[in-house]
């Protein structure tokens, strides 16, 4: 645990070592606000709630989260520091977890900086603050699951751009596997159980209830176990391909 935390501290400092981190956070905050106000028509709806705000998060994460995770292992492999890191007395699991937690905290910071919106709806009206809280927790967990996928893609290549694109594509498949457009491609020639299984992996169908302030235990378990699965896969890939 101590080792994991030391790695987390280093990674978090690495994010803020360049202005890119601040640019990223600014883009996230500005974009999540802009989508809410212009596309979500926050004022016209005349409701003191943030459900439209949260409903845009999967879209935003699709582009921004793989950008956060892409460097985590690709850069280590490209610069050779992976050999330095993994010959220190740390396990691969500790290294993977340390990096994941740092990236997750970074996303958490970005998410926390959208709080002025929460304050705003409280000034303008009387929102259901419990629902908003659930929305933030759900959004944070969703970011974690996306990050786990992104880190795994980063462990597969030494090229950050490829890690970014692969991360986006896999996140996209998981996000929208529950959408009719995707499911229709499988209906008819695949058994119903397979179609339902594909649909059950979808983030978006689970996240829709979250935006309304309803978060069921099974959704938490789903996101948590998916995150754990991808992190576990990352450990295996890092071990198998570290010298490649």
């Amino acid at each position: 645990m101590r080792h994991t935390w030391i790695i987390t501290k280093r990674e978090l400092a690495a994010y803020f070592a360049t202005p890119v981190a601040f640019v990223f956070i600014a883009i996230f905050v500005a974009l999540s606000g802009a989508l809410n106000f212009y596309i979500g028509r926050f004022f016209e709806k005349d409701q003191a709630s943030l459900d439209t705000f949260f409903s845009f998060h999967p879209w935003l994460y699709l582009l921004l989260v793989p950008a956060v995770s892409m460097r985590l292992w690709s850069e280590e492999r490209k610069s050779g520091t992976i050999e330095q890191l993994l010959t220190l007395p740390v396990t691969t699991t500790q290294a993977v977890l340390g990096k994941f937690i740092a990236a997750w905290m970074f996303c958490g910071i970005a998410l926390a900086l959208t709080a002025p919106l929460w304050v705003t709806v409280n000034i303008l009206g009387e929102p259901d603050n419990g629902a908003i809280f659930v929305g933030y927790v759900g959004s944070f967990l969703l970011a974690g699951a996306f990050l786990a996928i992104g880190i795994c893609m980063s462990a597969l290549t030494r090229n950050q751009i490829i890690a970014f694109i692969a991360g986006s594509v896999v996140c996209f498949m998981f996000t929208f596997s529950g959408v009719d457009m995707v499911l229709n491609a499988f209906r008819g020639w695949m058994p119903d159980t397979v179609v339902e299984t594909i649909a059950s992996f979808s983030f978006i169908s689970r996240f829709q209830s979250v935006t309304r302030g309803v978060f069921e235990l099974r959704d938490i378990v789903f996101l948590g176990s998916l995150t754990a699965f991808w992190l576990f896969a990352t450990v295996i890939f890092v071990d198998a391909r570290k010298a490649a």
Binding site: I6, I7, R10, A13, A14, G80, T87, P89, A243
Partner: protein, 324 residues
């Protein structure tokens, strides 16, 4: 006391056998020079000893820890500098060394003291607050060395520690290795042969993943067929006669003549089996009244040993045989 024991270590990548059944042991106080052409398996072997790569078969034991079953134990007692000493470029030297020190379990004043001590030892105290990516190659290498000795490990693995350094920096790194040699077991990989003569107590030559030779630099030199070759410098006018005479000397296999310029020629007498005695040649030259300006036994050099062992080719550069 045996600190590192390499036990039938092998590694293959697909069809390619990078390391093929290497067994070695290194005792405390020894500086083992790992020699070999590029691609011989030096780095792969080092990576397996350090616990970075898992061996395909065989194992290595470092201070009693088996790298296959207890890689973490091995990593704790080893100081390892990977090839090219990769380090996190965006960190300052201090931040990087702090990170390494904390991972190695040092905190607070103990940590800062250790960092200050290695910084003085490697002469990097002026660079501590600079980001690593702005440092020169020499400083980067010294930062890499600093992280490897921060925890005063009993075993040190250095992959090409002086590669790319200028002669002063090379000297400095070699002195540091020599200083630490007594209380540690040190393995360095290199293809710079002068380094082996300068710091290593023992040299192992590997090629295509196998150990081809193992011994002190002196022992390796005796493997050269020309180890006892004798060179004589004398005026060009008498070179022909001397060459003809020595070609018939019982211990001489062949005579090579080169022009030295300024009216002088150099004869190089290569030995038959059993070698040449310098005294015999000197006595013969005196008896024949050859006007010898210079006579010495050159003994060959490690470059030749290296070529002989790794390619089976030990031609002496720039020497042509006199037409018989």
């Amino acid at each position: 006391m045996t600190m590192v024991e390499i036990d039938h270590l092998s590694k293959s990548f697909g069809d390619f056998q990078a390391v093929d059944d290497i067994s070695l042991s290194v005792r405390k106080g020894e500086v083992l020079g790992f020699l070999g052409p590029n691609g011989a398996g030096k780095t792969t072997t080092m990576r397996m000893i350090s616990g970075f790569l898992a061996p395909t078969s065989g194992t290595a034991r470092v201070c009693g820890h088996d790298v296959v079953t207890n890689a973490l134990g091995v990593k704790g007692v080893i100081g390892y500098m990977p090839e090219g000493s990769p380090s996190y470029d965006d960190m300052t030297v201090t931040a990087f060394l702090r990170f390494i020190a904390e991972i190695r379990g040092f905190t607070g004043a103990d940590r800062d003291e250790r960092i200050a001590k290695v910084a003085r030892r490697l002469d990097i105290t002026d660079m501590m607050e600079r980001p690593i990516d702005v440092l020169s190659k020499g400083y980067r290498r010294r930062v890499g060395l600093a992280q490897s000795i921060l925890h005063d490990p009993p075993v040190l693995l250095l992959d090409e520690p002086t590669d790319g350094l200028d002669p002063n920096q090379k000297h400095q790194v070699r002195s540091l290795i020599a200083e630490m040699a007594a209380e540690k077991a040190i393995i360095i990989s290199t293809h710079i042969l002068e380094e082996v003569e300068a710091v290593c107590t023992r040299a192992v030559i590997i090629g295509r993943g196998k150990v081809l030779a193992d011994g002190t630099a002196k022992e390796l030199l005796t493997r050269l067929p020309d180890f006892t070759a004798v060179s004589i410098t004398l005026p060009e006018s008498s070179a022909g006669a001397a060459a003809a005479y020595f070609r018939n000397h019982p211990s001489v296999a062949a005579v090579f003549e080169t022009s030295e310029g300024n009216g002088r020629s150099k004869l190089r007498l290569t030995p038959k089996e059993g070698g040449i005695k310098l005294e015999d040649i000197a006595a013969a030259a005196r008896a024949q009244n050859f006007p010898v300006a210079e006579i010495y036994q050159d003994g060959g050099n490690l470059d030749d040993v290296f070529r002989l062992i790794t390619t089976g080719d030990a031609k002496q550069g720039g020497v042509r045989q006199v037409a018989a």
